[in-house]
């Protein structure tokens, strides 16, 4: 329980800090870079390396490569749908999340498993 709380606090602070940076910067295409900041990864890897060791954290980072490729596909599709089709933001970003899961797990099965 203590570990989960620690993860919530560290993760919350890291994600909020990067999001705040994004709010401060213009143009929006540049600020958008911070939407893909390694905030969750930094918070998780620090705690994982300290608790489970560097080899374990390194294995997580290897899988993260595939998660980041899925993120790229996700962000491209969301951007295109919002700019060209002008679909509602919340439903689009939520619905396309299925694509992130599909890409990430298909890549994982194909490359690592």
């Amino acid at each position: 329980m203590k570990e989960i709380l620690l993860r919530i606090v560290i993760g919350g602070v890291t994600v909020s800090s990067f999001a705040l940076l994004g709010d401060l910067l213009k143009p929006k295409s540049f600020a958008g870079l911070f939407g893909a900041a390694p905030s969750v990864a930094l918070a998780t890897l620090v705690l994982t390396a300290a608790k489970d060791g560097k080899a374990y954290a390194s294995t997580e980072a290897k899988s993260m490569i595939l998660g980041a490729l899925a993120f790229f596909v996700y962000a491209c599709v969301v951007g295109r749908l919002l700019i060209r089709r002008r679909l509602p933001v919340l439903s689009t970003t939520s619905a396309v999340m299925v694509l992130w899961f599909a890409c990430a797990f298909c890549l994982w099965f194909a490359v690592i498993r």
Binding site: R7, I8, V9, I10, G11, G12, V15, S16, A19, L20, L25, K26, P27, K28, S29, F30, G32, L33, F34, A36, A37, P38, S39, V40, A41, A43, V46, A49, K54, A55, A57, S58, E60, A61, K62, S63, M64, I65, G67, A68, L69, F71, F72, Y74, A75, C76, V78, G79, L81, L82, I83, R86, V89, L90, M97, A104, F105, W108, I112, R113
Partner: protein
């Protein structure tokens, strides 16, 4: 287009919105740890690149832009969605940097100190993302890839100047 620091974005957000992002970020980080514990680091690692903050940020951007337009007596839904779309395209460039971040951590972490590796990987993410953004910002690149708006593209320019001559809002 020059990169600027503009604090007006901070004034538009409420404490509740910051709290939502904090809670969302914290939950995703905790979830990544729990998934890794139950299914192993292979599956857990995928969630280190989960698009945690993009939906919340894009929704906030849409809301702020819509309100701005409505204060000026215009419909703002379409413009809000365009701004959120430009933000997402920026995130796609950041995602390429995220791939580099993960590669650096994967290869270097077993051999070097955690702090040094994570600092170096974050620097690699930032440099790669900004370089890709700069390359995309070139007009020549834009003309070949018309679906990826750069800051010089009409959509981004209008958004940046606060005008939208092709008002197509609903």
């Amino acid at each position: 287009m020059k990169i600027k620091v503009d604090s007006s974005g901070l004034r538009e957000s409420t404490w509740r919105q910051y709290l939502v992002r904090f809670a969302f970020g914290g939950m995703i980080t905790a979830m990544a740890g729990i998934i890794a514990k139950h299914f192993g680091p292979g599956i857990g690692g995928l969630f280190l690149a989960f698009p945690a903050i993009l939906p919340a940020s894009a929704t906030l951007l849409e809301k702020h832009e819509k309100e701005k337009k409505e204060r000026a007596g215009q419909q703002g839904a379409g413009r809000g969605r365009q701004v959120a779309g430009v933000d997402a395209i920026g995130a796609s460039m950041g995602a390429i940097g995220l791939v580099l971040f993960a590669i650096v951590v994967w290869l270097r972490l077993p051999k070097s100190g955690t702090g040094m590796v994570l600092t170096g990987a974050t620097a690699a993410w930032f440099i790669a993302s900004v370089t890709i953004w700069k390359i995309r910002d070139q007009p020549g690149i834009w003309s070949r890839r018309k679906h990826f708006p750069t800051s010089k593209h009409p959509i981004s320019t209008q958004l940046h100047k606060g005008t939208n001559h092709r008002e197509e809002d609903e």
